[in-house]
């Protein structure tokens, strides 16, 4: 399969870097071809702290068309935004906080406000040209969707259809079993893939793989809201998540172990208890404490170990003479059947 890799937050960005590093030989100041990654994967880094994004030199600014790139989640919100003011005055949350609060419930809270406050949704709808929740909408439309096969869909949903689509998801979830939902749109995905290859755009991603620390400030909160946005457009698009459980003790930002463990539990609960077919398709967990002990605190080596563990599922080489063996819809089907 060729997933769009989405690294979220600091840990997600560090692991993602391993995947997006060029596999080509490096020449000083010269690049003769396209950026070549393992399995030809593409991806982006989502970060909420602009300073962290500027303090590194691997990712460029995706908003300026650079690849591999980072996207600051709240860049679409102006400092004088009415929506921002409303949330700040009524709930005390800042939509442009530089690096979200380390408490996992912070970002969860931010998204839930948009779910239940109709006034806020109307305000955002007016300010952001039809987007009821500007954060995931910006990430999905500006960052992730252009890298996926969904971007070439001929029948993109307009915002006016979104509510209908939402209802469809709920109704479908009730009527169909999870497996049926998983299988329902695979035909259309394969067709889309065929159209994609025919149109010479075969480098677009056929799935999404989120990478985030479970228990941090940014990574934990973004996966579900973005997944909701994907599901509005394509029910069966394969979405996987690679979650990193944090190690014991306090981290570099002084978040306590208990605080992060609670964050991880909340994140896993949210990710794994969605209605069938509406959330992610699989969650892959890695325990950073085990890696920490094995690599004696060498964080780059730990990131490399995670890269090597995930690499086989990104391998583009299929069994000879056969078709469609390791593509994302097939992998999703296997997971659902298991």
């Amino acid at each position: 399969m060729r997933p769009c890799l989405v690294g979220i937050g600091g840990a997600g960005g560090n692991v993602l870097r391993q995947f997006l590093q060029s596999q080509d030989a490096s020449l000083p100041r010269i690049k003769l071809g396209e950026h070549l990654t393992f399995g030809d994967v593409r991806g982006l880094w989502l970060e909420s702290a602009a300073q962290d994004a500027q303090d590194q030199n691997f990712y460029g600014n995706l908003a300026e068309g650079e690849h591999p790139g980072y996207l600051i989640c709240h860049d679409s919100i102006r400092p004088d935004s009415d929506t921002r003011d409303y949330v700040m005055k009524n709930y005390g949350y800042d939509l442009k906080a530089q690096g979200y609060d380390r408490r996992a419930e912070y970002l969860k809270g931010v998204f839930e406000i948009f779910d239940f406050d109709q006034n806020l949704r109307n305000l955002a709808d007016n300010e952001f040209q039809g987007e009821e929740n500007p954060l995931p909408a910006y990430i999905w439309k500006k960052g992730i969707r252009p890298l996926t096969t969904i971007s070439i869909s001929k029948s993109k949903l307009t915002f006016a259809n979104k509510n209908n689509a939402n209802q469809d998801i709920n109704q479908n979830s009730k009527k169909l079993s999870g497996q049926q939902i998983a299988l329902s749109s695979i035909g259309s995905l394969l067709k889309k893939r065929g159209d994609n290859q025919d149109s010479g755009q075969s480098k677009l991603c056929d799935s999404i793989l989120f990478m985030a620390s479970l228990g941090g400030g940014t990574g934990t909160g973004f996966i579900n809201p973005i997944t909701n946005y994907v599901r509005l457009e394509e029910l069966a698009f394969p979405i996987f998540a690679f979650g990193i459980l944090t190690e014991k003790g306090s981290d570099a930002r002084h978040a306590s172990e208990g605080q992060r463990d609670l964050g991880a539990v909340i994140a896993m609960y949210d990710l794994l208890t969605k209605e069938a077919g509406t959330g992610i398709d699989a969650l892959i967990i890695v325990d950073n404490q085990i890696l920490l002990e094995r690599f004696k605190g060498n964080y780059p080596a730990m990131d490399t170990a995670m890269y090597h563990a995930i690499r086989p599922i990104l391998e583009r080489r299929n069994y000879p003479g056969a078709q469609l063996q390791d593509d994302a819809p097939a992998m999703r089907r296997v997971i659902w059947e298991a």
Binding site: D24, L32, L36, R317, P320
Partner: protein
């Protein structure tokens, strides 16, 4: 048999070993895969499935390196009458006395061996090897071949005098470059027989 010709045969054996290793690598993978499934497939299918891109930088540099390898080989053996008195650059006095004579000779070799230089690197597409090895190859091989070419040019300059040290240095650099060029094949084979 002349010492230099023995060494030329040694180079040919290294190249042949590279080719045989490549063939054994593909056969080994075919045998291993055949045991995992009843689905039959041809070697052509396997080659198609194994093919992966190595990157434009690497491909460009490795094609250039193979071209440069043949130039260095020709310079070492055919620039002076030391090894083949009847077949050498000095048999063409008009070109040999031209100030761009060496360049003309090199371009002629590049043109003659162009097809081979393009075909051999296509084999690298069947192997997965590290970026470190790629970088070592694209920087190390041209450097070694440059040493070989400079040594050969020095021998041409001092002719009819000769220097065993210069010739041996040219050969060692050439042989080392060849081994480096074939390293992905050897390392791939070692991986597959583990």
């Amino acid at each position: 048999m002349k010492y230099e010709i023995t060494l030329l045969i040694a180079l040919a054996i290294i190249m042949l070993a590279g080719f045989l290793t490549h063939t054994a690598y593909l056969q080994r993978i075919k045998d291993k895969l055949s045991k995992t499934s009843d689905a039959a497939f041809k070697m052509e299918d396997l080659k198609q499935s194994l093919k992966i891109p190595q990157g434009s930088n690497y491909n460009t540099l490795v094609i250039s390196s193979w071209s440069l390898f043949f130039v260095a080989l020709a310079f070492l053996y055919f620039l002076t009458p030391r090894v083949f008195p009847a077949w050498n650059f000095f048999d063409f006095p008009k070109v040999a006395s031209d100030e761009l004579g060496l360049l003309i000779f090199a371009i002629a070799i590049v043109l003659v061996t162009a097809v081979v230089s393009f075909i051999i690197p296509r084999g690298y597409g069947f192997y997965t090897f590290s970026r470190v090895l790629k970088n070592i190859t694209i920087y190390g091989v041209p450097l070694l071949l440059l040493i070989s070419i400079i040594s050969s040019s020095y021998l041409a300059t001092i002719f009819p005098l000769t220097s065993d040290i210069a010739w041996n240095l040219g050969f060692v650099a050439l042989a080392a470059a060849l081994i480096m060029l074939l390293a992905p094949i050897f390392s791939g084979f070692l991986e597959v027989i583990r």
